[in-house]
């Protein structure tokens, strides 16, 4: 199961040349505004037609400009979740949900209406109209509508961008379930590094209409030279398991055997979670630190040191828990003699891991 995308155009003052393969799971198209990510997703949907394109989902060719093949959007078997929901205002929630379902009789159903209603918790909204829904409720219905259209691919264009923080936290878990419980490829556009860290199986980073990076999320995010939002936004992602909820309000995680302490999480013991460790919250030490208030200290070996033009440097440290990034000054890097292969300790302040940066998986 895979998605193959190849798009190029040189007109309308916007030069784009993007090509990538998305394996199963959730592929994030990541980039700042103007990087071309919406152009790419709309070309996949068939809503815009680039000069050159070849788009294939699971061996089905949606477009191939080399042979003049271009399927219109309604023949592409997609489920598109838009930023603004785009629910039909003249239909109630139930009719919105089944709109695409009735049109796709020939294809295998992904879910039933009852399942969608249960998963998304929208049973009490079915008879309401979109105007009576909150932003978060609208997005839940939009996700359900896309799933019920019996899609072969789910597209999502910044589906959380129009929501406030609490609503984002409400909707994010549904995309995690989409990624984990359905064997459907998902193409997800965002400019939020937190969403990338939490949701992405694969990251396709776009920059000025070109593919900047592509690869598994953990790999791309722990690459010290990948600083799309500036060095302040750099951070690695660790996979961990919830081990125990302690009485003093801390939750103990285990990242490949390395214990991490975090403020109380709502996840059950045994759940797999993703933890994002921002590089500016990590301090490095050459010796095992003693008498320090920080709870999370992980031993590792320097993988690389990357210094930019400014006073800062980003150090990638390979630990048993995974690769961790630390943002320190160049002066400290020199003073500590940090270079490839040097043993050091990464000190992570446990309070620094913000709840919205943690996701179940």
């Amino acid at each position: 199961m895979s998605v193959e995308v190849q798009i190029s155009q040189g007109f309308q003052g916007f030069d784009l040349d993007v090509s990538f393969q998305a394996p199963a799971g959730l592929t994030v198209l990541f980039g700042s505004s103007g990087s071309g990510k919406t152009t790419v997703i709309n070309a996949v949907a068939g809503l815009s037609k680039p000069e050159q394109s070849r788009i294939v989902i699971n061996d089905e060719v949606l477009s191939d400009s080399a042979v003049g093949h271009w399927l219109p959007p309604h023949q592409r078997s997609l489920g598109y979740v838009f930023q603004e929901g785009r629910l039909f205002p003249h239909m109630n929630v139930r009719k919105n949900l089944i709109y695409g379902n009735a049109l796709a009789k020939g294809r295998a159903a992904v879910v039933t209406l009852d399942q969608v209603v249960e998963i998304l918790g929208i049973g009490n909204l079915l008879e309401r109209r979109p105007a009576e829904l909150s932003g978060g409720e609208k997005q839940r219905v939009a996700i359900g509508r896309a799933l019920l259209a019996r899609p072969k691919l789910i597209l999502a264009d910044e589906p959380l961008a129009a929501l406030d923080e609490p609503r984002k936290a409400e909707i994010l878990p549904y995309f995690e379930r989409l990624r984990d419980e359905f064997s459907l490829p998902v193409l997800y556009v965002t400019h939020s590094i937190a969403e990338v860290a939490r949701l992405a199986t694969t990251v396709v980073a776009l920059k000025d209409g070109r593919v900047d990076r592509v690869g598994p999320a953990a790999e791309v995010l722990s690459d010290p030279s990948f600083t799309p939002m500036g060095p302040r936004a750099v951070g690695a992602v660790l996979e961990a398991k919830v081990v125990k909820h302690h009485e003093d309000g801390l939750t103990e995680l285990s990242a490949n055997g390395v214990a991490l302490m975090l403020p109380q999480l709502s996840h059950a013991v045994g759940d797999q979670v993703r933890v994002r460790v921002a590089a500016h919250d990590v301090i490095l030490s050459r010796e095992a630190p003693k008498g320090l208030s920080a709870l999370n200290i992980v031993a590792g070996k320097v993988h690389s040191v990357r210094a930019g033009g400014g006073p800062g440097a980003i150090v990638a440290v390979d630990t048993k828990a995974g690769r961790i990034l630390a943002r320190i000054t160049r002066r400290s890097a020199t003073a500590l003699g940090l270079s490839e292969g040097v043993i050091c300790y990464a000190v992570i302040k446990s309070v620094s891991v913000a709840p919205q940066d943690i996701g179940a998986r």
Partner: protein, 231 residues
């Protein structure tokens, strides 16, 4: 009401209702098509079509009537051809309906176009991604969303058709029972001595119909807007 109105007056009212109804019904599908084309498509000669559609609004109605006579009269280019297949407009009630439809057309198109332009094309895109063909998108999304404007335009067109005089009398004359619509009847009664009371009765009917149409269009528009969620 038939006691209060004389048979001649009642005939004029009934004929006017018939003419206005068919003018409205005949104009509605071309009206939707033209409004859609003007609102959504870019094509060569768009400005020309736009002017042509709006011309009856600003042209002297008598001029429009005369042009109709020239083209749709039995000697006319189109009228002559239609006569061959048994369709005659000149001096028939159907001609009155045609004249009324042409005169009401700009109002209908304007109203539909305005409501079309208020619809977010992104909703139509969303429907397309869910598997709806362009025709299905039109009937399940576009049409329901433009319904308030469409119905308001239809009521307005009906009222305009009821009151149409200049083009009608020029095109199909003023034949009792055939083409004597309400305004023509009022005009005719005012030409004969002692006809003022009959004329006044017809004026009252006109006011009732016109006011009723306006109220109906308001109520309909409000109800549908609430239902469509775009109040």
């Amino acid at each position: 009401m038939s006691d209060w109105l004389g048979p001649q007056e009642w005939g004029a009212v009934a004929l006017s209702l018939q003419v206005a109804f068919w003018a409205m019904m005949g104009a509605v599908v071309p009206g939707i098509f033209v409004a859609y084309a003007l609102a959504r498509w870019d094509f060569f000669g768009k400005q020309f079509v736009n002017v042509l559609v709006h011309l009856p609004l600003v042209l002297p109605p008598v001029a429009t009537g005369y042009l109709l006579l020239v083209t749709f009269g039995t000697q006319g280019v189109i009228g002559g051809a239609l006569k061959e297949i048994g369709v005659v407009f000149a001096f028939r009630w159907t001609g009155a309906a045609l004249a009324a439809a042409v005169m009401a057309f700009p109002l209908l198109v304007r109203s539909i176009r305005l409501s079309l332009e208020a619809i977010n094309p992104k909703l139509e895109q969303a429907a397309a991604t869910l598997g709806a063909s362009p025709v299905r998108v039109f009937f399940t999304v576009t049409l329901p969303l433009m319904l308030p404007g469409l119905l308001a335009g239809m009521v307005l067109a009906f009222a305009k058709a009821m009151g149409e005089f200049g083009a009608t009398i020029t095109f199909v004359s003023n034949i009792p029972g055939q083409t004597r619509t309400l305004p023509s009847a009022i005009y005719a009664f005012l030409q004969v001595p002692g006809g003022e009371t009959a004329a006044m009765r017809l004026v009252v009917v006109s006011i009732v119909v016109a006011a009723g149409a306006l109220i109906l269009s308001e109520v309909l528009a409000r109800r549908i807007a609430a239902k469509v969620g775009q109040a």
